[in-house]
Amino acid sequence: MQTRLEAPAQEPRNVAQASGEIHLAGVSRAFARSGAAPVAALADVSLDVAAGETVAVVGPSGCGKTTLLELVCGLQAPDAGTVRAAPAVLMPQRDLLLPWLSAIDNAALALRVAGVGRTESRERAHPLFAAFGLEGFERTRPHELSGGMRQRVAFLRTLLSGKPVLCLDEPFGALDALTRREMQDWLAGALEREARTVLLVTHDVEEAAVLADRIVVLSPRPGRVVAEIPVDLAHPRAATDPALVALRERALEALRA
């Protein structure tokens, strides 16, 4: 029994655990294809995210943005380089709400998985329903919710996992322009209340500029970091603010290069 008490040899990804930091150094990742050369998704990506920072990753489609998030969440391992990240939870592109659970049970899924009982997990999720404008929809099934509401429930589920790092994969990609704008404002407010590290993947440069503290621009496949643009603007930000528009143009230029 004595030996069990010694610290086990752990992978480096646990070093940053408590704080909520993310460190990627020289990360590459390729995918095998049947009957063809492997596709490189990411090539030599280095990225450091401080605890509590919101970083938006923008890039053309197929540049390995989703791969980047899955690496940070530990769903994949890099072929080269190191990934050190605090425990991270993924909010996937599709909301992936479970159709057999009510909205509140979907939101509380992380709690149930962590061993919390049904009643207690609902009690803990309930106050957040009110805060997120979902009050009265606790017992509604996902297919009866609007797209924006489903996305909010999915975000709640992500938050309730209690992990310090949130990886958001194009959270509003499936929404119409108007709902999207509303949800961006809503998320900006929600993130301000929550002191979490956020890695936000999007193909919408404006969304990145409205929400993030820093924009990281990836090149077309294989993705590598071509620009890092700090966004030093106070919240709430208006998409029409000339400073924000200028940043947006800078990011777009980096994307085109």
């Binding site: 530990g74 996937p92 992936l96 297919h143 009866e144």
Partner: protein, 258 residues
């Protein structure tokens, strides 16, 4: 019952009436002997005249089918889950399961009678043998076809293998498992008749076996009619259970809201 639901009953009722009319006409015109193909009116008379005989034998067969289907469902769901969790088991036993369906019941039925006698056990074994397969296949396929992104999501929430099964795979596979169960109840009745042919002293299958050499063909057909009605009743009961158990799979009329 609403007008719309009554309206939905019209086509099947009309179809049955038309079929019975053609049958009656064909039998009355005398191209086939009465003891080969009795007219529906004769079958109806047999249903009434032999009602107590038919009823007591129906109870026997219904009990066999009910218990046999329960055994098949327990076995089928259990096997599907076991095969889902173990690839080795799946590779090892799946071919055997398929092979088991190629074994004609008439070959194994006497053996089962030798082993288990004339009681209810060999009947349950035969019914379970014909019924478990659709349950295993539909359930196993559905368990394997769960959205991989949903399982990935559970992984980022640190769910265990068992939790992924409990929260995602099992509910996702439930509609297909119930479809398998519906197929099972439809064929269970045939299994019961085979089983009673192989050796029994009561039941509708036994009754048929006796009625035909006695040239009481209408009685045999009456037994068939009862078996068919019983299969439809079981099927409807499962369809009803399906609506209660998997309400999320029945929302085509509502559709997603914008």
């Amino acid at each position: 019952m609403t007008r719309a639901r009554l309206g939905r009953l019209v086509p099947p009722v009309l179809l049955v009436v038309a079929l019975l009319a053609v049958w009656e006409l064909y039998a009355r015109l005398g191209s086939v002997d009465d003891f080969i193909l009795p007219a529906p009116s004769e079958i109806a008379r047999a249903l009434w005249d032999d009602r107590s005989l038919l009823w007591s034998n129906l109870l026997v067969t219904a009990q066999e089918v009910g218990l046999g289907v329960i055994a098949a469902l327990v076995l089928g769901f259990g096997l599907a889950v076991a095969l889902h969790f173990s690839a080795t088991l799946r590779r090892g036993t799946y071919p055997l399961l398929v092979a088991s369906q190629a074994v004609p019941i008439v070959i194994v039925a006497p053996l089962l009678v030798v082993w288990f006698g004339f009681g209810i056990v060999p009947k349950l074994a035969i019914i379970a043998l014909v019924c478990f397969f659709p349950v295993v296949v539909t359930t196993l396929d559905a368990l394997g076809n769960v959205d991989p992104d949903q399982l990935k999501l559970l992984r980022t929430l640190d769910a265990s293998r068992w939790q992924a099964f409990r929260y995602v795979e099992a509910p996702a596979a439930l509609p297909a498992a119930l479809s398998g169960a519906k197929i099972a109840v439809a064929v269970a009745v045939i299994g019961a008749v085979f089983a009673e042919y192989a050796g029994s002293s009561s039941g509708l299958g036994h009754l048929m076996l006796q009625a035909i050499p006695q040239l009481e063909t209408p009685r045999a057909y009456a037994a068939v009619a009862l078996l068919a009605a019983f299969a439809v009743a079981l099927f409807s009961a499962l369809a009803l259970a399906e609506r209660r158990l998997v309400p999320w799979a029945h929302r085509r009329t509502e559709g997603p809201r914008p």
